[in-house]
Every structure is written in C-alpha cells, then in structure tokens.
Amino acid sequence: MALVTIDGHTFEVPDGENVIQAAARIGIHIPHYCFHSGLPIDGNCRMCLVEVEGARGLQVACNTVLRKKVDKDGNEIPAAVVRQDTEQVRQARAGVMEFELLNHPTDCVVCDQAGECGLQDYYMTVGKYDHRSKVPKVEKRKAVPIGPMVMLDQERCILCSRCVRFVNTVTKTGELTIAGRGDKCRIEIFPGVELDNDYSGNVVDLCPVGALTSRDFRFKKRVWFLKTTPSICTGCSKGCNVLVDQDLAVVHRYRPRYNPHVNQWWMCDRGRLSYKAINDGRLKRARVAGDPAPWQKAVDTALALLRGKKFGIVVGPHASLEDLWMARALGREFEAPLWGLSWLAPGKADEWLMKSDLAPDRKGFELLGISTAEAAFRAAAPGLDALIALDVDLPSDLASGGQDAAGALAPTRGPALIALSTHETETATQAAVALPLAVAAERFATWANCDGRVQKGVPAFDPPGDALGARELLGLLAARLGKPVPADLEEVWRELGSELGITAVTFADIPLEGLPTATGAACAVSEPDTFGTGAGTIGGLPR
C-alpha cells in the first residue's frame, strides 16, 4: 500500500496505482483520454495534468505511479501530494481541450458517439473556451470501413492511441498505426489488412471519441435513448459480463462490463453480435401441434400429456442454474429421468475468451449432477410417454419422431413432445405443445461459466408475448400436476446456493462480478489483469 494526498485528502491505495485510479477511489474524476486501466500507460493526451508537490510544472496524473514512500525516520509519507482543483490545472485542461478540438470537425449531428463522447463531456465540464483559430480545419478521410465491425473517421480522432495499443498489446495483431506528422497525423490501417481479429469490436468501446464507431450499431439509435442493464453474454461458456443496451424492449448492442475474474474490459465479436438472438426468431405465443394456441389451452394440453404418465426431461445448457435446479426437483418429485444435453455445433475457440462450447451453463450440469449421457437418453426415450424438452433443440431425428440408426423412437414422436423454447426452433415447431420461454436478458437468473463461476443477470425488460422464465413455468406445471415445488427465486437460491457451496448468500446478495463455486474455485481463472491494478472500474471514461 502507498499513501497519497489528493486535494488535501490523504488515503491509502495499492502500490502501483496511478493518480487517476487513486483519485477515483475518493470520487474525484481526473479528466483523461489516453489512459485506460487495461492498456499500457502512454501519457500522450495531456488531459490529466495535475499539480504534484515538488515537481517542476504540471505532471500527467496517469504516469504518476504511486509507490510506498518513507522518510529518513522510517515513517510512511505520501508518495505524492496532488492538487487538481487549482486555477492552473483548470487553465491547462481548457488549453488541452482547445488543442484537441483545433482540427476537430465537430460533426456531433451525425456522429454516433454523441451523448457518450469524451470531447463533448470534457468540453462542457472543463473546456468552454472560445475557438480562436482562423485557419481552416485539416480534412481527412471520413466513414472508412476498416473491418467488419469498425468504421473509422480520421477527422474525429484525437490520436490518443488507445486503439493502437489495444491491437499491439491485447490482441497482438497490430493492424492499426498512427501515420503522418503534425496535423496530418491520423489513424491508418496497414495496407492490405483489415481490422478483422476476433476482438476488434473492443476498439469501439475504447475510443473515447467518435473516430472508431461500430458498423453494426451505426445509426441504429442515439445513445441517450438506450437503457442499460447488467447481464451475461450467452454466446459461449465463458459468460463474459455485458451491459445490455435496449430501447423499447429491442436490444441494440452489447458492451463488455468490467469483471477482473472473467473478461476484464473486453469481449469477443461473436459474443458482441449475439444480442441479435434476443430480438429475432423468438417464440412468442404457445403452440399446440404446431399451430398457435392460447397459452392456457397449451398448458392444459401439456398437463393432459403429463398427468399420470411416465415422462422424462431433457434440458439444454442455455437454461439457468435455477432452471436446472427446478428441472431436477421436478424429476425427483415425479420420478422422471433427467438429462442435460445439447446438440449445438462447437464454435471457434482460442486461448483467451472464446470457448468452443457455445452455451452459457453447461457447467451447471456438472455442478448439479445432471446426467449428460446421450446414449442413455436415446435408449430410455422410446420407453417414455412424454418428453419435456427444456430450452434445447433436439436433433431432427428425435424432434420429428423419425427413426434414428438405433431404431424407433416412436413414443417421443409428435404428440408427446413438450417443448419449452425461447426461439422458433425445429423442436418447437414439431412438438405436441410448445410454450415460450424468456431469454437470459429478460430474467433474474444465474449461470455457471466454464470456470465454475456463478454469475447473475437482471432483466432488461419483460419477455415478449406469453413467454415466461423456465423456473416459473416448471413451478407452475408442478403445482398444476399436484406436487408443488418451491419456485420462488430466493427459495430456490437458499437450497441451490448451499448445494453449490455458496452459503449465506441470497440471490440479491450475489455481486455483479459473480462468485466462484466450491468446485469452480479450483478451476482455472483467467489471467489476472496485467496493466490494471484493481481499481479497474475506471475502464476508460465515465460512461
């Protein structure tokens, strides 16, 4: 730990933190552009100038790194005595703003960054100078698509080099550079390459201005219309923490949410685009024999198929931990065999965030001891009267009641398949009864990622149409079948949590960065953040 004094407040911070991070701990925001906790310090924007006692002139806060300091008597003294509320600092900030905006096109009218722009924010808070230059602004290239995800506007760039440092030090792909000199300086992509790595979307979040914007989000919504909720990306089993940005129950983008244990500040492009599944292809109304039906009628039909019958449950790895727990409780109550299976094709994987398992909760099968034996399922299926398929797309031979190589699957054919489904899948179309389910972004629920970390999401909006959460729906079915199983979220969590070795925790108490499970703690936790030092909530500008 090191001592630091900022604006007269003296407090302790971890060794190695800089003044921007330290100030954030006591709620002081020091304006900055080029510094980002996830990137090496560059100190080029000069926005973070502060007064440091004993130093000649103003110093950059981002490169004033604090280390434990003792005087000659061995008493600990502040590593730096900083003032950032003086007239000199105020003038320096306004001066830097004037330089940043000297050649800036100020086309906020058409700029997607407007509303979350570092230039707009700091102009209003610390800038407010009168533009004095009479020289025409330098013109550069605008609206250049530099990759599948990213659009570059060279005029808007403030040359903070965050994007360059990202591709050099984080993805180590090095597609971008700063070319030219003086006011001809600009971000360029090397000839013949595209910004096409699997994490390219992150430069959009990194860029403090509208120089790098998302091609996917481009012109879809002004950011001030968006409402933000924390959730989990369900694109793969890593479960990167995200912010769901939506307006009127339409999700417009995902942004990564800082979690030092999982994804730090980043997320992959595949996951970033996976929000589309929330908007498209959803099953909104119940179906009986493939035809839309009133929800009540569909539930009655399902109950008739289940009442007094021998049924099984097969659950997919998109279902939340609570859903798995409910499915298991239901299985025990009705002596129904339970399998956790999926027929998802594996996706691209790498050493870092991307996992080949494209489901968010497969670890839940292991944590709750749910059988994943496909052969056993295929062998048992013909002997069942009915099958509940919970959030899983069965292969066509099972869903359609066709014959597989091993023989007939007559009992699961047509009428006896009850599909609880989020999307209009083949299974939902073929099933005797299909009931719509809510997706992750619409629910209070938890998922266990591949490292056994339990992470929670909160609903961004209500599920569409008749859709319900799987836990609620299973609870309702159990109650209507005469054997109620507690389905209340906190009730489920009291038992689920203790089973997972997470004691004395209610759902509401689960922190947003999740909790390791007893089994998961031993699992590999992703590499610690190399550059940040724990105060990483300053993931860039206050957004």
Partner: protein
C-alpha cells in the same frame, strides 16, 4: 381565517326573460348585415375554403422538411427533434448517405400529426434548420388515422406559405 360568503342576486322579474338582451343582440346582427351589404369589401370573415388565410409569421402550422438545392432533405437524422418532442410523435430511421461528407440522412421521417401538440420544439431543436412549421397549413382532414402520419416525401413537398421563406 374565516370565509366571507356573499350572495349575488341574479336577474329577477321581467329581466329574467332576457327579452331586452335578445333585442340588443339582434340589433348587433342587423347592424353588421347592413354594413356588410353596403360595403362587401370590408367584410371581416374569409370565404373559406375558397379563400385561405395567410397566417401571421411565427404561426406553427404543418411541418415541412427543408430541402437541399438538389431536393433531398437537409435533415441529417440527428434525432434532436425526436428527442425533444414531448408527444413522441417523430419517428426517424437513419441511413448511410453515399456522400461521406453528408454521411447520415433520414431514410424514413414520419410525424404523427394526431399526436403532435404543435409546440414547435422540434423546429427550435434542429441544429441545421431542416424542419420548419411555416407552411401555414392548419387544416387537417383525412378518412383514416394512418393518413395523419406525414411521411418524408409529403413533408418535403410541403412548401412555406411565403414565396420567400423567412
């Protein structure tokens, strides 16, 4: 504090028939009829709908989209009007303009005139003076509710009531 109740006495007796007042009113009508017949040019009323009134400057009539010299809308789809609109009746869909110096333009621009409260905030908010309410159009009549939604083409075709827009 106590309330003071004061009884107001209405008309009583013969006065309550209002006969004298009716006669007074008729006199006004007759006076105007005679004046109008003697000097028809000085008539105060307008022969609507044959004659349309030119509204005073600043009158907030039906919106129009201001065109560029080439006829395309000046609007950059920045959504300022849609943001400020208290009735939430402006719906804009933005698209990529082939010219990167223009960059963004409205593919769709709808104003629901039934929801609009004619406050004029949209005109105030526009940073590029692309929307105005100087058309002088104050009559709206359609057979369908959906026809009250003015689309981009309509709004572009609406002209200012002044030959020389001010």
């Amino acid at each position: 504090m106590s309330l003071k109740v004061e009884r107001v006495q209405g008309d009583r007796g013969v006065e309550s028939f209002y006969l004298w007042n009716v006669v007074q009113g008729l006199a006004v009508t007759v006076r105007h009829a005679v004046t109008n017949l003697r000097a028809p040019r000085a008539v105060q009323t307008t022969n609507y709908p044959e004659e349309k009134k030119v509204m005073p400057p600043g009158y907030r009539g039906k919106h129009r989209l201001v065109p560029r010299p080439d006829g395309s809308p000046k609007c950059t789809a920045c959504m300022m009007c849609a943001t400020v609109c208290p009735a939430r009746c402006i719906n804009i869909e933005a698209g990529e303009h082939p010219d990167p110096t223009i960059e963004k333009f409205p593919v769709q621009f709808d104003i629901d005139l039934l929801k609009c409260v004619f406050c004029g905030y949209c005109v105030e908010a526009c940073p590029v003076d692309a929307i105005r309410m100087d058309s002088g159009v104050y009559t709206f009549a359609e057979f369908n509710r959906s026809d009250f939604v003015a689309h981009k083409e309509q709004l572009l075709a609406t002209l200012s009531q002044w030959a020389e827009p001010r």
